[in-house]
Amino acid sequence: MSADLSTELVTYSNLALYSAMAVFTVAMLLFAFHLAALGPEKMDRSVAASRPRKPALVGAAEGGGSDLDSDADLPAGDLPSGGGPDDEPETSLRARKMAGMAIMVSWLGTLLVVSSVVMRGLAVMRPPWGNMFEFAVAGAAAVALAFCILVRRNHWEWLGLFVIGPVLLTLGLALFAFYTEAAELVPALKSVWLVIHVTVAILAVGVLTIGFSVGIVYLVKKRREESPSDRRNFMETLPSAARLERTAYGLNMVGFILWTFTLIAGAIWAQKAWSSYWTWDPKEVWTFVIWVVYAAYMHARATAGWEPRKAMTIALVGYVCVILNFTLVNLVFTGLHSYSGLK
């Protein structure tokens, strides 16, 4: 590929990123309006939203739809599709309109980010996640795409603000703090394992990000359920805390599996590239720490007698470690994973 074309592609790629940021800002506002419009007018909504799980089967029997089919707890493949979420409160027309627009705009932003990633990849003729900037953009693209695909089926409109917000933040950081010139890779990164290890790492971080967002919402909702306030707001129309907890668990579980794979693939690559599969390099240490923390979360959640809230706290700590692993470890600690592209 000629240098001119390559430079041009990079220009367009960056242009797409800036546009995506503008579009996502709009999407975020729309999602915020959606939440605001959710504020219930009738008391019985809060009752419906926090209805205990037990009678769920009634709903399932009615029309095949209930909180069962909108549950992210397990791969949705074996669940019946279709059928309205009968136990969910009626959302106002305004809120639905807002959500519809927000999702459309999110799709636009997502397509822009994805095209930016693709153009960058074409410009450098390699998987475009070889430095911190590219990793962040690819991760944001993965999160946004996953969210856009899943939002309708799982009735995640309420989650939009909490997903598109971090995506926007990530893109901003990538462009203004981590930006790196498009270039070829250093020899240590020229490996098929870049595709395997880093792609799965991106997916894992993406899933864990959404899991983190849901986890936070769960904690807030839980507190609200325990001490209901007279001033009702959109919180009442969110799914019940128990369901939020299951959704977060499902996401964290998938993230944990992907992270385990990342860890193993990383070790295999390290053996090829650095001659030893494990050297306690700072990145390895933190990848391990994250794995152990999420493992602790899985155990805590599986333990009878542990409050789900306490278990969720561990998961949130795990995500904080993910963020530290990406920022602090890349930029402050010196180690073998010095691929930030920044000096």
Partner: protein, 576 residues
């Protein structure tokens, strides 16, 4: 994951079996006393409790962190020394506490060893239980399936035996383990793989640790710097540094040879900013033999592409420049002529090194200083290189003479021990600095001869590794992944079907269908026989001659299982 013993409150210490029979203690002692066995049991129960395991897991994650904050001896011993020097107070304390060898420190080892013991204490009883479960039949159906969290009731057009047989076949097809009980019920269970996966995961974690231990005990690492045109044959003494494991037999190193013909290196020249000068290619073209006398093989070594020679993997881990220097005495006799590796100090390969001419007389002669692949010509900030490739190579050396090897002690080849050396100065007493470009010769003052910089060669840092544990570790790691997938994705479910012949009155047992099942459940507690389906009356009477059976399907899951209800509905639909 949930069957691990989880005391809600701390388990009370058990008294030893002998204590109750002994006479009651006199005096103020009021607590029951524990025999050694009792204490051991108590400690074991504490250690293997989920609470402790969780605590140890969290402790492990916290304990691992210091290793990423403080420099580690295993990675960079020089940095550790620098750190201790720079932190005169805290440095030695941290050192004593093992903060520079975190992953070999007693406290870190204690955490993971306790965790392993706890793990084994969990795996063994659970494996036993699971073994029995695997060989036993699903339990008998509870009397009242309506009391289970998930259940559906419907009427079936046929005999109880028919519907039970149909249910058995259906559940079998869905990979359930099924028994038909004598009391007109069917018990079925599946998802045994969940617990199997869980145990595989935990056992594999232990195997990983075994693999790591084998690797540690029997591994070998030998590092060597080979310059272009040089050949290297693997023996213990020929490596620059050798790190064997405690039980490695160094006599059995494979006797391979590597002849480095050329090292191809490329750096980024086009991109701007931080990427300028970033490495782009390192390829070592080598000729190898696995054993002496073998036919030489032409091979290349590059990052991510090590070669394997007789079970030893050889990696290209470093590179640098080795200026070819010749030193002659005043009569023109060659005292020294070889490529001398200099070690890079920064990303632009500003390199330092030493040339030791032990054969110079009357005093031994030495040069130390810098090699700059692309010299910044003004030396405004001292000798530095401004690009990693050799675009404007230059040597900047100071001259020393005296005793090179005071006391005959071993010393680094890259630095001078100047204890017994004095620097050769200009006539005015200021230090003499020689700047040489390739092809240039400098005549040393005071009849000391000449030094010439002939050409620039490169060196490759090769690392030979043997880790007999890594295959086991890899296999175990992949098993943990499989185990994890089974644990988290497979669901353990029990399904029970109970069939009771319906009373004869057809109007009492309306034809089956989702609406009916719903109506029945809606009655909530009264359970059956709602008469609120007048629209179906016609159908009912038309089908009146067929015997009817009231069927209840109940489901039981180990954990929250949103799919179970759906499964029951599907079973019902398939049966009707």
């Amino acid at each position: 994951m949930s069957t691990r013993t989880t005391p809600q409150t701390p388990a009370p210490p058990e008294t030893a079996p002998s204590t109750p029979s002994s006479p009651p203690p006199r005096g103020p002692i009021t607590q029951p006393r524990l025999g050694p066995l009792g204490w051991a049991r108590w400690a074991w129960r504490q250690l293997t409790s989920m609470r402790t395991a969780l605590f140890l897991l969290l402790l492990l994650s916290v304990g691992a962190v210091p290793g990423s904050i403080f420099p580690q001896r295993s990675i960079d011993a020089v940095k550790v020394t620098d750190y201790i020097v720079a932190h005169a107070t805290s440095g030695p304390i941290l050192d004593r506490l093992g903060f520079f060898d975190v992953y070999a420190s007693p406290w870190f080892s204690a955490i993971y060893l306790l965790l392993v013991v706890s793990l084994i204490g969990c795996i063994v009883p659970r494996s036993r239980i699971h073994w029995h479960t695997l060989r036993s039949k699903p339990p008998r159906a509870p009397k009242r399936l309506e009391r289970l969290d998930e259940h559906v009731t419907f009427t079936y057009a046929g005999e109880p035996a028919q519907v039970l047989e149909a249910a058995r076949k259906l559940l079998r097809r869905q990979r359930f383990r099924v028994v038909v009980n004598a009391d007109d019920s069917v018990s079925a269970e599946n998802g045994y793989l969940r617990e199997t996966g869980n145990l595989v995961f935990h056992i594999a974690i232990c195997v990983i640790i075994v693999g790591v231990a084998i690797g540690h005990l029997f591994s070998f690492r030998g590092d060597v710097i080979v310059t272009e045109g040089e050949a290297f044959s693997s023996t213990v003494s020929s490596y620059n540094s050798v790190i064997p494991g405690p039980l490695t037999n160094l006599d059995q190193l494979p006797p391979f040879t590597i002849d480095l013909q050329k090292l191809d290196v490329k750096f980024e020249e086009q991109a701007r900013g931080a990427q300028l000068g970033a490495p782009r290619e390192f390829t070592a073209h080598v000729q190898t033999t696995e054993k002496p006398g073998d036919q030489p093989q032409q091979q290349t070594i590059s990052p991510n592409h090590p070669i394997t020679l007789d079970g030893t993997e050889v990696f290209l881990l470093g590179n640098g420049y080795a200026p070819v220097v010749t030193v002659k005495d005043t009569k023109g006799h060659v005292l020294y002529s070889q490529a001398t590796p200099f070690l890079a100090q920064d990303n632009n390969y500003t390199s330092t090194g030493a040339i030791k001419v032990g054969s110079a007389r009357p005093k031994q002669l030495a040069f130390s200083g810098f090699f700059l692949p692309t010299a910044e010509p003004t030396y405004a900030n001292g000798p530095v290189s401004i690009f990693p490739d050799d675009q404007n190579p230059e040597l900047a050396l100071s001259i020393w003479e005296g005793d090179l090897y005071p006391g005959g002690r071993p010393q680094s080849v890259y630095t001078l021990n100047t204890a017994q050396l004095s620097q050769v100065t200009k006539a005015d007493g200021s230090p003499l600095l020689i700047r040489l470009k390739p092809g240039q010769t400098f005549t040393l003052p005071g009849d000391r001869g000449t030094i010439s910089f002939d050409s620039v060669a490169r060196w490759a840092g090769l690392s030979a590794r043997v880790d007999p544990g890594q295959g086991l570790t890899l296999a175990a790691a992949l098993l943990t992944l499989l185990g994890l997938l089974a644990t988290l994705l497979v669901r353990r479910r029990r399904v029970f079907v109970r069939a009771v012949a319906a009373p004869d009155d057809p109007s009492d047992a309306p034809a089956t269908g989702p609406a009916e099942a719903l109506a029945i459940r809606r009655a909530d507690g009264a359970d059956m026989h709602t008469h609120s389906q007048p629209s179906r009356a016609g159908e009912v009477s038309a089908a009146g001659a067929i015997p009817r059976t009231v069927v209840t399907i109940g489901g039981l899951a180990k954990n929250a299982d949103p799919g179970l209800g759906t499964l029951l509905i599907r079973l019902r639909d398939e049966l009707t």
